[in-house]
């Protein structure tokens, strides 16, 4: 990112990073987390859970993009996905 004037606290402020977790057999494949993640981190995978639904996965090249905003957790109707602060 280019700054017009370098913020004094640039070294101290870090964009939050998230680590994603899933409880696979709760997912009903609605696609809400995939469609509405503001960073486009998730996509549908080929993997099928016990109920026969396709699970979300982390899209290629998006491994470090989750910002732990928690939106996927709130919108998931099945309490199947959430994030925690990552490294």
């Amino acid at each position: 990112m280019k700054y017009w004037r370098r913020p004094l606290d640039k070294d101290k402020i870090k964009t939050p990073k998230g680590h994603i977790y899933i409880i696979p057999d709760r997912c009903k494949g609605c696609g809400f987390c995939i469609e509405f993640c503001p960073k486009g981190v998730l996509e549908e995978s080929d993997e099928i859970n016990r109920k026969g639904y396709h699970l979300p996965k982390i899209a290629d090249g998006k491994e470090d993009d989750c910002m732990n905003c928690n939106f996927c957790m709130l919108i998931c109707p099945e309490l199947a996905i959430y994030t925690e602060e990552g490294e």
Binding site: I20, Y21, R26, C30, Y53, D60, L74, I75, L79, Y82
Partner: protein
Amino acid sequence: MSAKGANDKGRIETVEEHPLDHILRQDRLPHIWCPGCGLGSAMTCYAQAIERVDIPLKKQVLLSGIGCTGRIAGYVKVDSYHTTHGRAIPFATGLKIANPELCVTVFSGDGDLFAIGGNHFLHAARRNIDINVICVNNFNYGMTGGQQGPTTPVEARTTTTRYGNFEHPLNLPHLAAALGAVYVSRWTTLHCRHLEKSMEKALQKRGFTFIEIICPCPVGFGRPNKLGEGLEELRYYREKSVIKNDASWDEMVLHMRGEEPIVVGDFVDTERPTYLDLEEQMLRAKGLIK
């Protein structure tokens, strides 16, 4: 936590528990709601809100009437009442009057709260009973097979309006505001973060609060009205929602078709003495209590 899945590329790390599991009755889950139904999102927002507010879970009570939305009282692990159809508000009123320490919330459907239960809403809001009413509006009676109800928009198709609905629907925030509710807001289930914050606000607010949640019911409303499955209906919300806190009553009317916007926001946030405030004030003035 087990981490068996983390090696495959892109695979999300697998675990067995969710951070909000302790707020829900695990013995009753998984819930009965259809894939693509928004009720699960609404319940998650509520679980997050009751965990975040500074009110002990032991003092929180949740009530519902009957319907798909009505199941929520059975899933959340606070003291709860799954009451008869339309009667959650009278139960809630009784609870609050008998034990003013409690934080009392009613979570129910449009049919339950505004068709069979409409009269109770009227009088609880008028009296400013210090309870919170959260209505999931999916524009139909989801549980019983998608019949027309008091919020079904004009022209909408349901199993009982095969040629389109000829009735004018209720405008819920308008109604709540006119009755004197001290806090009135409306969000869709796509506005999770706003919705969760509004719930926190309502829980902490003194007086009668009302939140309307616009929610996909693909089975009873989405499919017959060409809004499609849950995901497509949420895309429609994204396209058509406008946040407008100072919306006029006319602007709040929902059409759910064509180019008409879905106006959402925090419409009312005010103060008014509650029923119990007035009782105490008047009895004290007459020297009947100290």
